[in-house]
Every structure is written in structure tokens, then in C-alpha cells.
Symmetry: C2
Subunit: 533 residues, 2 copies
């Protein structure tokens, strides 16, 4: 107990900072109230009449700092603190992240790296431990993380639970490996997040009975209501690719105490240009939600769900995590509380590319399956087979190669609907195992993949002569460069990809990066070959 | 994880019991829904369509079992399991108790005895550790409980937090002894209950900043709103002596997610004849509260506040703690879930009467202070001094004796407003230290006190010849006899006391039992003498 807090609260000692005559939102009672907010050592000591060494006049409504309840920072391609610098500008003060991608690439090393990097910034990072590495037994990730592998990580104070339990059917069947992970988290009193699109009825009962307490995959009100009724918290997801707010905004006014906002996967330019949780609040209000309730769903509710008793409201003893909003709910200023911990960032020192350069022979596949891209979806169509590349019918080569263990596994088939007229695109962002995936024309694929290997991962685009790359030197999925710079480079290389003919409505990189994920129907290309679901 | 739960939920195995086609209250959404509730091993597996080895048709609305958020079981004069047997009939399935009284009498031994006795019944007992033994440094209790004394008790799974921090000013001043207790509970993630009547402003900010998260002493809406706004949960108390529901019922509809119902101190006949938490719900509804919200305040909210994630609603994975209500909200049946733990009750084996018989000379006090009883209040008036007993002016003798350590401390003075015309009343229920207190005429006081010492505590009434007693052999404040029997004996001995002339509107025992509590103004008699506040 920091006694300075009591001294300031009781009026015996001056505060560090007083937000004088603040109009602030009390999320406990839903009232807009007025008072001086006294802050000392990063915590709120009292609200009332106070004097401080510094005085600040807030030009707007003071609200608790926002909490993103579920995000894979890796999708922003930047490191936690770089993400934090941008998110904080948008009033975010707590980010609950699931380092699932880096865990697939670098195991516990990757998780610890993310935790280390996250310290000391303006955003307080909390971590949920990846529960399904690899996503399924088909996937060839760097490693398999067991309950015993994860257990020591709970010692870190920033680790607050178990992340989305994706293998819902393993839970329902009662498989020990996954139940063991849930049990350990539950026994420690930690949150256990769910991921169970379209699950309902008896199967959902079993999933909930096992201890899974939330879901961020709801796409309809019916689905969300069933999950709420069974006691799950509903995380309303509004990311770069997945937009569920419009369908679920009806929850906010009635169940703001049982739902919250999350971004899940978000590209850097969205964060920079449009905002973070504040963007979702504005959209919810534009769709008709009550602003006070939307803000409560973005602050008090996630704090409660995750057991973060030191935040989520403006009250004595809580972190001085605050945002100042204008009338249109744009963030004018933000405060971040708590004790600042000095970050001990280690260098990324983990080789995730154990793979040899490829040759044109690796792309010979003869008669093979054709994966069909479905616009605006992650689903694929089964388009039969083809004998060879045929640009006039929009059929190009698709290639995948294992990169973690030097197994030499590689496979090729055909892709329809991508649109590329010449050259190739290759990337090491390939959910969830993040092996190598590439699409285009044989000679260009060889060029692009070998360049990708040479630079240690990222995104490479070539027209057959010119080569452009976005190096992601950290595990092949992130970079230490600042978020803004990454966003610009990403825009530039995306323009180059579209100039090669990639179809409108297809994201040249994100679409490609999901063609290896063996949990989405109908056909996928893995380094081990084509699989159907 | 009990896999049978998953097997039943998924429909692979039959439930133990199915409540078929139940109309039940979903406290997450506030809806009345229909479905089969499948129960196995005391837990709810699923809700939907299920088959069971036994089928039960509920003739009424099925609701979650009720939770009493704060009670001193000792005030019922019976042991936890005896209390439980009656409370369960009224739909109570969880009782959060503060063994403050027995802790004053028998320290850690007393707390452990209560925990041991509480196991194995239909009500699940949880314990908050007494934070202020003794209540203040003036009090002569059996022992002083430090943070270090309490710490090992947290190892017991039924111990869930720190009970009412009564010495609010010690907290506000920042005294280590009490902050240490709060810090330990907070670090363990446990609840810390408050007790701060009329505290507000900067002092309340300091008290809340220290980590005190609830209050059950609010008597006005203004006081409750101030506490709610600062983040405290408000416990609405409706006990035998303290009735706060009428003043606070306005909270229920708006803040049912931040308030709950508690009884604090309740005599056994109230529990038996009028009910428990169900009684408070009925009264709240009669006063205009919404029934669904009142029930939520009695179930989900306290479960959340205390971190009891395995109860408080009807959902898969939770304890099958249920009550069936008729249309007037009377309890028709109750179910109790969880794994039944076999109780290992030890005998009470702790002598709490280290005190010698008294003589008439101990009552000689000459000219002394007169304490004046204020009807219907625990407060006392300062009525100056008197030279001797004078029945015609309603001035009798008041006597107090230390009983824990054989210090020989005893003191006498005068009492006005009690009404007794002959004989005496003596009791070892004397909050909070539970020394001996007696009132009446000298010779009868000697008879009554010596009989009280002989029987090892309880309540003794004499008219100077006939002697009637309610033995409370456990610490002088409780008995192992059943609740119903105690209630009858209490009624009988109370009638005897009134027959001696005790004034209407004065409880012959409870009024007496607070005349030694040195935290209530204006004058008190302690074994060490008269004190003024």
C-alpha cells in the first residue's frame, strides 16, 4: 500500500496532478459528475476538492482509459510498444493480447519476447496464453505448447489468463491436453477466453461447463444471446477483416455489463488512421448505442471480466488511466497511470527460417487441385483440378513451404480468383503456423520465396524483375520499426501488388496468409499438401 | 475438471437429476426462460433438452440460490450448520460469514471451530476474516488478531476475504497494523469489506483508496450513492435490529449489479419465522423494487463481488444451487450443489470463563455515572450521576466483569430506562469482547452473574428466587442445540425478563449486550470502568 495515496486522499499532502473541476463519467452509476481528480504516483487518490503540484484543465469529458479485450498485436506487424504508442493516442490504456502468432513461430521464447517488449510504455499490456499451438494437429508450427509449457508463464504478473480456446471440439470431447490448460487457468482464478463460431445447443453447454467464459466469434444476435444466457461474456469484434459490430450493436444498451469491444486482428494503418477502441465506440454510437453504455462496455466491463480490479473506472485507488473526449467522442488527451516499469528489451535472437532456397523444380506439380478465392471471405471454393497455370482463366500457381524445422516439406497447387497477371507474392505471414506461402508464376515465385528466405521473412512482391519487400525480421511476422513507417511501407507494397493485377476486393497479403489455415473450409494448401475440410 | 459434466452436457451420458421443462430466471439477461436443467454431481451440466436418472418437475420459478453477503452467525446463538438447516429452507445456499464475535472470545481457535462446523451442510459457508479484534484498543477481548495471525487462515478454501474493516480512522490515518491486513487480502485477490457509517468526502476517498470495496452501514440514499460512485459495493442490511432496506430500496432497480442484501445480525426466531434473504427480497418487492432485479442483487451480484465464479446464476458449470419460488416469492423448494465435504466437527474445548464468582461488595460503587438507554437505538444518553439504585426513578445497577484472562477487572455504575422492577439479567453476549454484563438489583446481580459463570456463559434471568437460563456453552455466545429450540428458549426467557418489568421497546438482552461496546456514543460501561465517547 502506497501511503502517499492515503495522504493525498485525506488532504494531508498535495497531489502530483489535479485535473481541476473535471466533468467525468462515473461508470459505476452512469452519471456525468464534476470534481477535482487528484492523482499521485500514477493512481487516483480522491475525487472532490483537491490541490496539486500541477493543475490540468480537461477540455472535454474525462472517461476511464479504454481496454482492448482481445488482440493479436502481431497482425499490426509492429511490436507491442510501437502499437502502444499509436493506441495511446486513441485513449487506449490497457491492451489484453494473445501472442498466438509469435507462439506458433517461436514458442515460449516468442511469448516472453512480447512480454518483455511490452513493458514501460503508456499502454499497460496484459497477456493471455495461447491455448492452441498449433491450431490443430494438421498444422506444422514451430512447436506444440502443452499445459506444462505454459504453466511457468503464469508467474509473470502481466499474464492474466488463457487465450481463445479454438479447439472447441477437443474440449467437448473431453480431451485431457486442452482441459488441463483450462483447469490450470481456472484454478488460478484467471480468465479463460473462448473462440467458438456458430457453436450452440448441447455442445455449447459442454464448452461453457468446461470453464470457457467468453466468446469473440459471434456474428448474429441469436448466437450472442445464446452465449450470454449461458454465462459467457461476449466480445464484440471490430477489426480489419472481421466486422461484427453492426450485427451485435443491439447488445450494447441492454448488456453493456456482459459485453466488451475487441479488435482481434488489426492492420497498422487502421489503428493510425481510424483509431482503436475509440473508433468502435464512435461506430456503436453512430449505430444507435448509448454513449455512456458503450464507454462502460469499453472500460468497466472488461476490467471486471479479466479481474483487473485496479482499473476500468475513475475512483480512489485505481490507476489514473484516463481519456478526455470531445463531443464527437474523439480523444483529445490521454493519461496513463500505474508505476512505470523500465523495459528490459532483449534483441530478437531466434532464427525462424530453417529452410533452403527453392528451385523451379519445386513448383512442378502437374495436374493438381485448384483453390478458389471467395471475395471478402476467408472461405475457399473447391474449383476442381487444373493441368497448369493459365493467366487467361485467372489460374496461377500456389506454393507452400515449411520453414521451422528444415523438414523440406513443400507443396504446390493452383489458385483461382487472385487475379495476378505476372510476377508473384510471397509471405511468411501464414496463419497460424506462419510457414511460407506464395502465389503467381513459377519463375517469379522462385525469386520471391528465395528473397523472402534471404531477408528472414516478411512480404515480397516481384514483377519478375523489380523486387519490393517489407522485411519482418522478428519471427517473419513483425518488425521493430515504428508503426507509422510500417503502415506506409505496407501501403506502398500493396500498391505494387495491385499493379500486377491482383483483383479488387482481394487483399493481396491477408487473403494469401489464410490459405494455409486448416480450420477454415473448403480447401487449403499446407506444406504437406492439399487438405480438404 | 469433472468430465462427467461434459459427458452429460454433450448428451453422451444421462444426468443425475433433470429439472424438466423448468421455467427459470436467467440473471445474466433478466429473462424468464424454459428448459430442462441437467444436474450431475451437484453441478449444472446443461440447459436444453436432457434426460436424467431422476426427473423433477418444479412447481414455480427456478432461481439461483440466495447469498447472504455478510452475517455474524453468532447472533443467531446457534452453530453454522444449525443456522444452515433453517436458512436452506428459505432458499439460501451460500452464507458469507464474519466470525467476529467468536474471534473476540476465542481467537483463531474460534474461527477454525466455526469453519470446521460449517462444512457438510446444505448451505455453503464462506468466511471473511475478522479485521478488528478487538474493535478498538479500549476493548478487553480474549486476544488481538494481527495480520500475521490471520494469514495462515487464507489457506482454507472457505476463507475468501477480510471482513468489515471497522476501524476506519486507523485506515485513513495510515496505520500499519490495519493496512497490513488489507494489503494481504488484496494481494491474494480477495474481497475486503467495509464498515464506515456516515463516512464521506476526503475521508471516504482515503478509505476506498486503501482498498475497502464494500459497505453495509449505509442508512440514507445520499450516503449509499456517494459510496457507489467511489466504487464500493453497497450491502443493504436488513437484520433483527438494523433495518436499512426501506431507506435504500431505491438502489435496487438502478444498481442491482452493485448492491446486495445482508442480514449482519439476526436472532434465530426471525430466521425461522420470517425467513432469510427471501424475506428481504419480498420486502424489497413490496416496497416497489423489480423482482428480477432484487433476485439478481441476491445472487449474481454477491457472487461476482466475492469472486465466487462457481455460483450466482443458472448456467453450465455452476453449482446446482437453486430455489423454487411461488408467485409471492415464497420458497417452495431448494437445491444445494457442489461436492459435499464430510464435516469433521471437533468438540468445543476452549475455556472462555477465567473469572471468579463475585460478591455483593463488587457492586458497591457509591456515587457513579448513569447510562441512559435510548429506545430503539444502540446509542446511550449521559444521565449524570446517582448515589444509589432507585427503582421509582428507573435507576438500577449496571455491572461489567472481564472474563477472558482472570484480570479481576470489574466495574459498576447505574442504568436508566431499562425498567426492571426486581431481580437481574446477566449475559456473556456483550459486543464485541463479550465479557460479562448484568443489570438489576445488587443481590440478584450476584446470583445471576455467578450462575452465568457456573454454566459457562449464556443468558441468565432471576427474580431473586427463581432462576432461568439460556446456556450458551460455546464461548458463552452460542450453543450446539438446534436453531428452533434456541428460538423457543429465547422467547421463554425473554417473557420472564419482561415479567420483571423490562420496558416495552427495550430488548432485555440485545440492549444490554451493546452497553459495553466502546465505539458507540455517548457512555459505556467496560470492565475497566465508565468511558465516554
Amino acid at each position: 500500500m502506497n501511503k502517499k495515496l492515503l495522504d493525498v486522499a485525506a488532504g494531508r499532502v498535495k497531489a502530483d496532478t489535479v485535473i481541476k473541476q473535471a466533468r467525468y463519467l462515473n461508470v459505476y452509476t452512469g452519471e456525468a459528475l464534476c470534481g477535482d481528480i487528484a492523482i499521485v504516483d500514477g493512481y487516483i487518490a480522491g475525487i472532490g476538492e483537491y490541490e496539486g503540484k500541477r493543475t490540468y484543465f480537461a477540455d472535454g469529458l474525462v472517461v476511464p482509459g479504454f481496454i482492448d479485450g482481445h488482440v493479436h498485436i502481431e497482425s499490426s506487424m509492429t511490436l507491442p510498444r510501437s502499437f502502444a504508442a499509436e493506441a495511446f493516442k486513441h485513449g487506449t490504456t490497457t491492451v489484453v493480447c494473445d501472442p498466438h502468432e509469435i507462439a506458433n513461430v517461436a514458442g515460449v521464447y516468442g511469448i516472453r519476447f512480447m512480454i518483455d517488449d511490452s513493458r514501460g510504455g503508456d499502454v499497460d499490456f496484459k497477456f493471455m496464453l495461447p491455448s492452441c499451438v498449433p491450431a490443430t494437429s494438421l498444422d506444422q508450427s514451430f512447436c506444440t505448447l502443452s499445459a506444462a509449457d505454459l504453466a511457468p508463464l503464469y508467474k509473470d504478473k502481466s499474464v492474466i489468463g488463457l487465450a481463445e480456446v479454438m479447439d472447441a471440439f477437443a474440449v467437448i470431447r473431453g480431451e485431457d491436453a486442452v482441459l488441463d490448460k483450462i483447469d490450470r487457468a481456472t484454478r488460478l482464478g484467471r480468465a479463460v477466453d473462448g473462440h467458438a463460431p456458430c457453436l450452440g445447443g448441447k455442445e455449447l453447454c459442454a464448452y461453457v461447463a468446461a470453464g470457457v467464459k467468453s466468446d469473440h466469434e459471434c456474428t448474429t444476435m441469436d448466437e450472442a444471446m445464446e452465449k450470454l444466457r449461458l454465462g459467457q461474456f461476449v466480445m464484440i469484434r471490430e477489426g480489419t477483416a472481421a466486422h461484427n459490430l453492426e450485427a451485435l450493436v443491439g447488445l450494447v444498451d441492454r448488456y453493456y455489463d456482459r459485453c466488451m469491444f475487441v479488435t482481434d486482428d488489426m492492420h497498422p494503418e487502421v489503428l493510425i488512421q481510424k483509431g482503436h477502441i475509440d473508433r468502435i465506440i464512435r461506430k456503436a454510437v453512430a449505430l444507435g448505442a448509448d454513449a455512456v453504455k458503450a464507454i462502460t462496455a469499453a472500460t468497466l466491463t472488461p476490467a471486471r471480466y479479466f479481474g483487473l480490479t485496479d482499473r476500468g473506472a475513475i475512483a480512489p485507488g485505481l490507476r489514473a488511466d484516463l481519456a478526455v473526449l470531445d463531443e464527437e467522442l474523439f480523444v483529445k488527451a490521454a493519461f496513463s497511470g500505474g508505476k512505470k516499469q523500465k523495459s528490459k528489451v532483449r534483441d530478437w535472437d531466434f532464427d525462424t527460417f530453417m529452410v533452403s532456397p527453392i528451385t523451379k523444380a519445386d513448383l512442378d506439380c502437374g495436374k493438381k487441385e485448384v483453390l478458389g478465392i471467395v471475395k471478402g471471405q476467408l472461405l475457399t471454393d473447391d474449383c476442381g483440378t487444373a493441368d497448369g497455370v493459365d493467366g487467361s482463366r485467372d489460374i496461377v500457381k500456389l506454393f507452400a513451404a515449411e520453414r521451422h524445422h528444415g523438414t523440406g516439406h513443400k507443396a504446390a497447387c493452383y489458385l483461382k480468383g487472385y487475379g495476378i497477371k505476372k510476377g508473384a507474392v510471397a509471405t511468411s505471414i501464414a496463419h497460424d503456423s506462419h510457414n511460407i506461402i506464395a502465389a503467381g508464376y513459377d519463375e517469379s515465385i522462385v525469386l520471391a520465396v528465395n528473397e523472402l528466405i534471404r531477408i528472414g521473412g516478411g512480404i515480397v512482391v516481384t514483377d519478375g524483375e523489380r523486387m519490393m519487400s517489407l522485411p519482418l525480421e522478428i519471427g517473419g511476422i513483425m518488425t521493430a520499426r515504428p508503426c507509422g513507417q510500417v503502415a506506409e511501407q505496407l501501403e506502398e507494397i500493396k500498391r505494387f501488388a495491385f499493379s500486377l493485377g491482383v483483383n479488387e476486393g482481394v487483399d493481396p497479403f491477408m487473403t494469401l496468409s489464410f490459405l494455409s489455415l486448416p480450420v477454415i473450409p473448403k480447401v487449403r494448401l499446407l506444406p504437406s499438401g492439399v487438405v480438404r475440410m
